[in-house]
Amino acid sequence: MDYQSAVLPQNLGYFLLVLFGIIWILLGLYWGRKAKSLDGFMVAGRNVGLALGAATAMATWVTSNTTMLAPQFALQLGIWGMIAYSTASFGLFFFAPMARRIRRLMPSGYTSGDFIRLRYGKPAWVVFLVISLFYSLTWMISMGMAGGLVLLAVAGIPYETGMTAILLVCVLYTLFGGLYAVIGTDFIQSILILVGVVVVGAVIYTRIDFETTYAAVAVDQPALLMVLVPAAIMAFFNNMLFGMGEIFHNNVWWSRAFAMRRNVAGKAYWLGGLFWLPIPVAVGFIALASASLGINVIRPDMVGPVAATQVLGFAGAIVVFIVIFCSLASSIDSLLAATSDLLTEDVYRKAINPGANEATLRRTNQLIIGLLGLVTWLICRLNIGTLAEILFFAGPLVGSTIWPVAAGLFWKRTNPTGAFAAMLLGSLIGLICYFQIGWYTASLVGAAVSMVIVITTTLLWPRDFDWKTLDETPPDAMEPSTQKGASS
C-alpha cells in the first residue's frame, strides 16, 4: 500500500484544476484575438520580445520530468545525478546561437522540417520527420499520462479525470490562441514555477542545516555522496546529449526561434537556460534532504511533493499542485502547437496540398491540434506502464540529429547523403546499444556515430550549398519583423 499519496484534499484538487483550466482557456481566447493571420497563429507574428522569449524557453523546458524525475535522479545517482540532470540546460545554451542563425537564414520559415528538406533533400527529410514525430508524440503521451498519475497521487483525482482535464484545457487554449496563447501562458507559468520552487527550496533550507543533512546522507545513503559511481558517470554526458538532441531537432524550439524578433532569439535562449539550470539542482537538493527530514521515500518521483508538504503543510501541497500543473501545461501546449505546425507545413502543405491558402492552412492546423489531442487522449487512457521507457528509445533517435542539424546550419559543405546516413545509422546503432548495454549509453552512442558520419562524409565528399535556398520569402512579402504581434 502506498502511504505517500493524496497530499491535497480531493475537493481542493478539483477546485484548483477547474480554476486554472478556466483561466487558461480564457487567456487562450484573449490572445487568440491577436492571431489574425497564419503567421500570427503559427509563429506569433514573428515579433516576440526578450522577456516572453526567455520565459517560454524556460517554461517549456520545465516539464513534470524536471520537478519529479530530477529528484529521482538525485536519489538514484546522488550529487552526480543532480548535476547530470541540470546539464540538459546546455541544449538551450547551445541552441542560442543556432536560433539566431535560424532566424537569419530562414526569415519566413515555419518548421525544423522545412530546414532539413531545403538543406538536405527529401530522403533526409523523411527520416527526420519520422524521428521528430515519434519523439513528439511519445513526449506528449508521457506528459498526458504524467498529468493523470500526478493529479491522482497529489490530490486523489481519478487518473482518467485528471488526464482528460489537463489535455482538454491545453487543446482548447492552443486551438483558440495558437502560439500567442502558448507563449503568453508560458510567461505566467514560468513565474509560478520559479516562485514555487524557490519558496519550497528556501523553506526547506531554513528548516535543515547542511551538517545534519550531510551526516544523514553519509550514514544511510553514502553512495549518493560518492564521485566514482559508474552509473552516474555514464549518465552525465548521455543525459546532456539527450537534452541537446531534443532541443536541436524539435519544432517546439524552432517555432520559438521563428516567433522571436531577429535580435532576441539568441539572448532569450541563453536566459531561458540560465533560469532553468538551478531548478533540477533545487529539487534534487530537496530529494537529498529527505533523509534528514525523516521522510520514508516509497516512490522516488514523489519525494519532491512529499517533502514540500511535510515542510510547508497544506500550503506546500497547494504550491506543489500549481507547480506541477504549470510544468505539464507549458510542455503539452508547446508540443500540440509545434507538432501540428510540422504536420500542417511539412506534410499537408508540402506533400498533399501545395496550393492551400492561409485560411485553409489555419483550419488544417487547428484540426490537427484537435486530432493530436484526441489521439494522445486515447493512448493515455490505456495507461501503458512502460510508455516512459518508450520515450527513452527516442534518446538515440534525437541524439543522431545533433550533428546533421548543427553542421547543416554552420557548414556550407555538409554532405546531404552523409546527414541522411548519420540520422539513420546513429538511430539504429544507438538502439542496439540501448538493448545490449543499457539506456545510459543510447543517446551518447547515437550522437557519436552520427557525428563521425557527418564529419567523414563532409571531409571526403563535400557538397557546396547556397544559403539563399533556405529563404523562402515570396518576393512581394512584407518584412516579417514589421508585422504586429506579441511584444515583450
Binding site: 542563425r101 555514464m234 554526458f237 548521455n238 552512442v445 550522437a447
Partner: protein, 205 residues
C-alpha cells in the same frame, strides 16, 4: 482475558493480538484485565481459529518481504523493498526494518519504523546487505518475530566502461561546442562583411 465487543465498540485493541475484526456478525477482542467485556454475536469456528492463532503467535503478526530476493548482484545503488503482514495485515500495524552487513545481524541499524509497507533504499554502497522486517502494534507494546533475512548484493558496473563512455561523451560535447561557437563566430563575421559591402555599394548619393 477474553472478551467480546459489539460492532460499535470503540475500546482500543489491546492484549495478546490487539486486533478487532470488521463486522461480519462477529467481533472478537482480547481486552485487558481492566476492560469490560461486551457480548455480541460470534462464530464459534472463527473464535476457535483465533484462539489457536493467538496462542501460537504470541504477539504482532509475522511480517514478510514481498519483493523477491535477487539471484544476481544488482548493478545500481538503489533498491525498492516491499513487505506485508500477509493475511494478518492490519492498517494499524507498524513495521520496523533493520539492516546489517552480515547475515547474523551483529550490528543492526534501523532503517525505517512506521506504517508504510515499502521503502526506496538509495545510496547503497557496493557489498552485501541484509534486511529484516517485523510488525509491531502501533503502541509498540508487542512486536512480531523478525522475518527471514533478505540478502542483497550491490555490484556496480565497470568503472572502465563508465570512464570510456564519459570520454566518448566529452569528445562529442567538445566537438559540438567547437562547431557551434566557431560556426556562429564565422557566420557573424560574414554577415558583418556583407553589411559593410552593401553599405559601400550603395555609397553617397
Amino acid at each position: 482475558m477474553l472478551g467480546f465487543h459489539t460492532k460499535t465498540n470503540s475500546l482500543p485493541p489491546n492484549g495478546i493480538s490487539g486486533r478487532t475484526y470488521p463486522t461480519n456478525g462477529f467481533m472478537f477482542l482480547f481486552s485487558n484485565p481492566a476492560g469490560i467485556p461486551r457480548v455480541s454475536s460470534f462464530s464459534f469456528v472463527t473464535t476457535l481459529v483465533w484462539l489457536t492463532t493467538a496462542v501460537f503467535l504470541g504477539g504482532a503478526p509475522t511480517a514478510t518481504f514481498v519483493t523477491p530476493e535477487p539471484h544476481a548482484p544488482v548493478a545500481s545503488s538503489h533498491f525498492s523493498l516491499e513487505w506485508t503482514a500477509g493475511a494478518d495485515d492490519d492498517e494499524e500495524l507498524h513495521f520496523e526494518l533493520r539492516q546489517s552487513g552480515g547475515p547474523d545481524f551483529a550490528d543492526p541499524r534501523v532503517r525505517y519504523e512506521g506504517p508504510d509497507r515499502a521503502t526506496f533504499l538509495a545510496g547503497l554502497p557496493e557489498g552485501d546487505h541484509y534486511f529484516q522486517i517485523r510488525a509491531k502494534t502501533p503502541d509498540a507494546d508487542s512486536a512480531g518475530p523478525w522475518s527471514d533475512s533478505f540478502h542483497l548484493t550491490i555490484q556496480y558496473q565497470s568503472l572502465t566502461l563508465a570512464w570510456f563512455l564519459f570520454g566518448v561523451g566529452a569528445v562529442v560535447f567538445l566537438a559540438t561546442l567547437v562547431l557551434v561557437v566557431a560556426g556562429s563566430t564565422k557566420a557573424r563575421r560574414e554577415e558583418k562583411a556583407e553589411t559593410t559591402e552593401r553599405g559601400a555599394f550603395s555609397g553617397p548619393s
